[in-house]
Symmetry: C2
Subunit: 267 residues, 2 copies
């Protein structure tokens, strides 16, 4: 395993190769890896909680766009051919009663036959489109994890699942903000258009340099913070809703799927 | 109640007025009524079947685009403000063990507190857009219910839910088929682009004049049959999957919601 591998080295490897590296122990944020392939958030819950999670996603499609669901006990599927959901994500977070109790790189020891896996779209997908249009993606340029923030906006709840909207932030030059909206709105399956532009205070974000998840990025002079709904939202709901057990990905450490970003493009 | 009311008279009434008419006993196909407001398919199942239905919808978004879900026992919601899902649809179909046993105009006597209601997008929504673009909608012009066909295409199954894709058909002049694709593709939440154009035999449709649901339409000389995924699909799955009880709308007799068609338009 080459722990010195940089994101740049990894941008061209296949999703299968990326999953193998993670299976073998590489732990890095996945932004920029296997560019052109859809990355995904994870939410794994026991079957008796699955309807609430799926309904929560249906009611909050911007933060929780479902790309696929593995049936109870299934560990692989068409989005990760030949893969294993228990080992192929760089890092996981295990929640017991809403509290993160472990951040393993392999969840085989936690696995249960009644676990249902939700694979949820990730804004990393539209970053390829932003980069291709020559828009800046600060956290990739700065080599850090994307900054994510809990907001004061409440999601629509579903059964036991309820919580705040979590957003990711990418600063944009003011003259490119319209392009950022236009481009990302064409990817509704992976969070789509921004939910908020400028004025972080209104979202309850008091310090833009202290994200709740991920890393801070330097906001270049004159650039505007642009906020997109984030797939960490179901994890924030799990923290509030306190199911006996639930497993997510470590923020920024995504499942890299076999689906191409372009599959999620609308006309 | 004015049973002599024609579709034309009803095109301008509000969704609330339409629901009141149906509650009072009017039984008509709803195409063309309250133009500009989204119409919806219905699927009502006991809570223990709800995850399978929601997952079936997630896996088959073209025939089953979910617009809203009423929690177990709920009879109203934001899509039908002040309404009652048990009385406000012109006609229902009640299935026991997959067999249609009743087609009542009111399901109050069947209602149970564990019933979960799925409100599913309907292609009638994009008919407004087709008409505005001067494309013909044959069944409205001919004053009949839209023709719908069971196909030989299998949906992706989910738990106990599995069955054939059901399609609706609208003939189009050959030179307007591209416009029909372009316009309807902008409404992914209500079946979106067609799934098949021309060649009904390939879908297993042996007689275009004998639809499985709804009415036949006259296909004008030289026009091409264009097929869209249809919200009757979950009912076909219920017929195969045989849950103890399930309730749908009578094909073509939809819930008229308070949501505007334009809400479901993508850029």
């Amino acid at each position: 395993m080459n722990t010195a591998a940089t994101t740049e080295d990894l941008s061209k490897i296949s999703p299968q190769q990326a999953r193998e590296l993670f299976r073998d122990g590489l732990v890095v944020p996945t932004a920029g890896i296997s560019l052109g392939y859809a990355q995904a958030n994870l939410m794994i819950v026991p079957k008796d909680m699955a309807f609430d999670v799926l309904l929560f996603a249906q009611r909050n499609p911007k933060p929780c766009p479902i790309l696929g669901v593995l049936d109870a006990g299934e560990t692989s599927g068409p989005l990760l051919k030949g893969g294993d959901i228990r080992t192929d994500v760089p890092q996981y977070v295990v929640y017991e009663n809403g509290v993160a109790i472990d951040t393993p790189t392999d969840i085989t020891s936690y696995w249960r036959d009644d676990f249902v896996t939700f694979i949820i779209g990730c804004s990393f997908t539209f970053e390829t489109a932003l980069l291709e249009a020559n828009l800046p993606v600060a956290h990739i340029a700065q080599g850090v994890n994307v900054p994510m923030y809990r907001t004061n906006v409440r999601c629509e709840s579903a059964g036991k699942m309820g919580g705040p909207l979590v957003v990711s932030m990418r600063p944009m030059p003011a003259n490119l903000v319209p392009d950022a909206v236009r481009i990302t709105s064409r990817y509704p399956a992976v969070h789509g258009a921004p939910v908020h532009i400028g004025n972080p205070e209104e979202l309850g974000i008091t310090d833009i340099n202290s994200p709740d998840f991920g890393d801070p990025v330097v906001i270049p002079e004159g650039q505007i913070p642009v906020f997109w709904a984030c797939g960490v939202t179901p994890q924030a709901a799990v923290m509030e809703s306190k199911p006996s057990i639930a497993i997510g990905h470590a923020p920024g450490h995504m499942l890299i799927t076999d689906a191409k970003d372009s599959q999620y493009l609308v006309p």
